[in-house]
């Protein structure tokens, strides 16, 4: 199949990946027994994921630890092979590991380091030039441009081990982008960085993506990364896609509440606020209430009619709160499922 620009860049269908994990029993006897026979448990890291990404999109994968975000990126970059299902990136099946595919994408992992530790980053870049066969003029041009954008010109000659975490991450990004990939996978690119370094990398990524119109998939723990960069968000929990849409849509979908803040007049008589909704806090003269989304107009009308209120604001609950709630619920569901399966298995 030949890929052309009008097709989606990434197409994933029913992609699943499960691992066998050796179950270690406690105790000496069990350890001795483990020499001869072992128990394994299948862990489904990714469960029939379906996803389509168009050219030029900047998509964020959100999810708790172990949700399958990184596994998905590793499947898409061909590092691991799936248990079942298919995926195509620019028409290539990633785990075939064709050189023609590997020349067209890059994977950056915030927790791993691919530069030569004891050498200046410059030397690792040269190696990339040879591996990706980048023409000298193009190499110089791209490198200078990236170095400029990230402001690391003075650090090129320093051994990588002497760079700070943020500086090292910038170098990793340059190394990954030298061959002008059309698809970029970013796995926790800002992990462990301070706020300023995080911000720098965000700015760079946004700018670079707008400039080159490349397709980027990003996983991150930091909501700020996501809010700053991505219009489309995919929530993965327990190996499954829970949500796929805009960032603001998450609140609409998962939160049934609004947060109403009331500024009371000075001569206000105390009332029992909890009959209107869940009382979040009272910091006189301010009161914050959590109110069911559907009943907001009705309740608000009632409040305004019966109290002396100077100001009102109605807001969505904080995004991070909603998302963490989604994660917790997904976790609880999966636990229940596992428990049910175990009961079924022991019968």
């Amino acid at each position: 199949m030949t890929y052309n620009r009008s097709m989606p860049v990434i197409e994933i269908e029913n992609l699943s990946k499960s691992y066998r994990i050796y179950q270690k029993q406690e105790g000496l006897l069990a350890a001795v027994r483990g020499l001869f026979s072992r128990e394994y448990r299948d862990v489904e890291a990714v469960r029939s994921v379906n996803l389509t990404v168009e050219q030029g999109e900047f998509v964020a994968f959100l999810g708790p630890n172990g949700a399958g975000k990184t596994t998905t990126l590793k499947l898409l970059s061909g590092v691991i092979t799936p248990t079942s299902g298919t995926a195509r990136v620019m028409g290539h099946i990633p785990w075939k590991r064709e050189n023609s595919y590997r020349r067209r994408f890059a994977l950056v992992m915030g927790q791993k380091n691919q530069l030569w530790w004891d050498l200046p980053a410059q030397e690792s870049f040269r190696l990339h030039q040879e591996i990706y066969r980048i023409a000298p003029e193009q190499f110089d041009h791209t490198r200078d441009e990236l170095v400029d954008l990230l402001g690391v010109g003075k650090l090129l000659r320093q051994p990588v081990r002497e760079l700070s975490l943020g500086e090292r991450m910038k170098m990793e990004l340059i190394a990954a982008l030298l061959h002008s990939p059309e698809v970029l996978f970013l796995d926790e690119p800002t992990i462990g960085l301070d706020v300023i370094a995080q911000h720098n990398i965000q700015t760079f990524l946004r700018h670079y993506q707008q400039l080159r119109k490349i397709t980027i998939l990003l996983t991150s723990h930091y909501m700020k990364d996501v809010a700053a960069l991505c219009r489309r968000v995919v929530i993965i929990a327990q190996g499954q896609i829970m949500y796929d849409g805009s960032l603001s849509g998450i609140v609409d979908k998962f939160s049934g509440h609004k947060v109403v803040t009331l500024q009371l007049a000075e001569d206000h008589v105390p009332v029992d606020w909890s009959r209107y909704g869940e009382l979040l806090d009272v910091q006189s003269p301010k009161v914050r209430l959590k109110i069911n989304r559907q009943t907001v107009p009705e309740v608000l009308a009632h409040i305004l009619a019966n109290n002396a209120i100077e100001d009102v604001s109605v807001e969505d609950p904080p995004l991070e709160e909603v998302i963490s709630q989604v994660f917790t619920e997904a976790g609880a569901q999966a636990d229940a499922k596992d428990a049910a399966r175990q009961v079924a298995a022991t019968k």
């Binding site: 990184t70 970059s77 590092v79 028409g91 067209r104 690792s124 040269r126 190696l127 791209t142």
Partner: protein, 290 residues
């Protein structure tokens, strides 16, 4: 800045060179390793001295043995200086292995454990090449240099003088020996993908190659002959040093030439089998996420 593929691009991108130049990548590896070795100069010197002193201790052992006997085995043709030709050949082969492959296969097992292999799998270049040649240990070449000295001295003390054909074939068979040992090594490294870790890779290496370090004639008798056959024809470590060493140290007879021909086939077979095993192991790579 040109964006080299902005219109319809098939799976083969015609605007880009079809493949990386392996020679240039290799040279970059060599260069980067040398730069690194030179930044830690003291360490480099210490490692050279370590390698040499290990070698001198071994030489001492054989000098002791030759203090009690004239040859290794009666009538085998491995007198003192013939055996030192043998020893130089061992040194050539081992130092090449230690320079090019030892640091890499050790790192490979580590990369499998930590998930660092991910990066090698992303590159548009043969993964086995990348894994096998990534780092180089220049200090191990100290023994290579010493082996040249030992070989020249031993040859000058020998009555038998090899002809030009033997001198041409010798380096070829040294390389065959390196290739066989390398295959064994990469196969062991591939096993580490399945075993989860392979802390004892170096030990395995040491133990298996201990067979290659002595003339194959010493393996005879009811137990020795089968052993000789197994380590010649099934796991061909015995031919690694024996074939090139015989070419320089002893007059070649027909059975010896036959073994030399076999060695060529064995080299190809070993490289092929280990490559197959390596590619298989990549399929079951799990990529530890840490």
């Amino acid at each position: 800045m040109q964006h080299s593929s902005n219109t319809d691009i098939g799976t083969t991108a015609p605007t880009r060179p079809p493949r990386a130049s392996y020679r240039r990548v290799f040279l970059t590896f060599a260069r980067n390793s040398l730069i690194r070795d030179m930044t830690f100069r003291t360490n480099f010197v210490i490692e050279c001295i370590s390698a040499l002193s290990w070698m001198f201790m071994n030489l001492g052992l054989y000098l002791i043995i030759f203090g009690y006997t004239d040859s290794i085995g009666a009538g085998t043709g491995w007198g003192k200086y013939q055996f030192f030709v043998f020893l130089s050949t061992t040194l050539f082969i081992n130092s090449l292995i230690e320079t090019f492959f030892m640091p890499n296969t050790e790192e490979f097992s580590e990369q499998v454990r930590t998930g660092g292999l991910d990066f090698a799998l992303l590159k548009p270049i043969d993964t086995q090449f990348l894994v096998s040649f990534g780092k180089m240990d220049w200090s191990s070449l100290a023994n290579f240099l010493f082996a040249i000295v030992l070989l020249s001295y031993s040859l000058s003390r020998l009555e038998y003088q090899p002809g030009w054909i033997e001198f041409v074939l010798y380096p070829l068979y040294v390389l065959c020996g390196v290739a066989i040992l390398y295959s064994l090594m990469i196969a062991l490294a591939a096993l580490s993908v399945w075993l989860g870790r392979n802390q004892n890779l170096y030990d395995f290496w040491f133990y298996i190659t201990s067979f290659s370090r002595y003339p194959m004639e010493i393996y005879n008798g009811p137990l020795g002959t089968p052993l000789q056959k197994v380590f010649t024809f099934i796991i061909p470590v015995l031919i690694v040093v024996n074939v090139p060493a015989r070419i320089l140290a002893q007059p070649m007879t027909q059975p010896k030439w036959q073994l030399a021909v076999f060695a060529l086939g064995a080299t190809v077979a070993c490289l092929g089998a280990s490559r197959w095993l390596f590619l298989k192991s990549l399929d079951s790579y799990r990529s530890a996420s840490s």
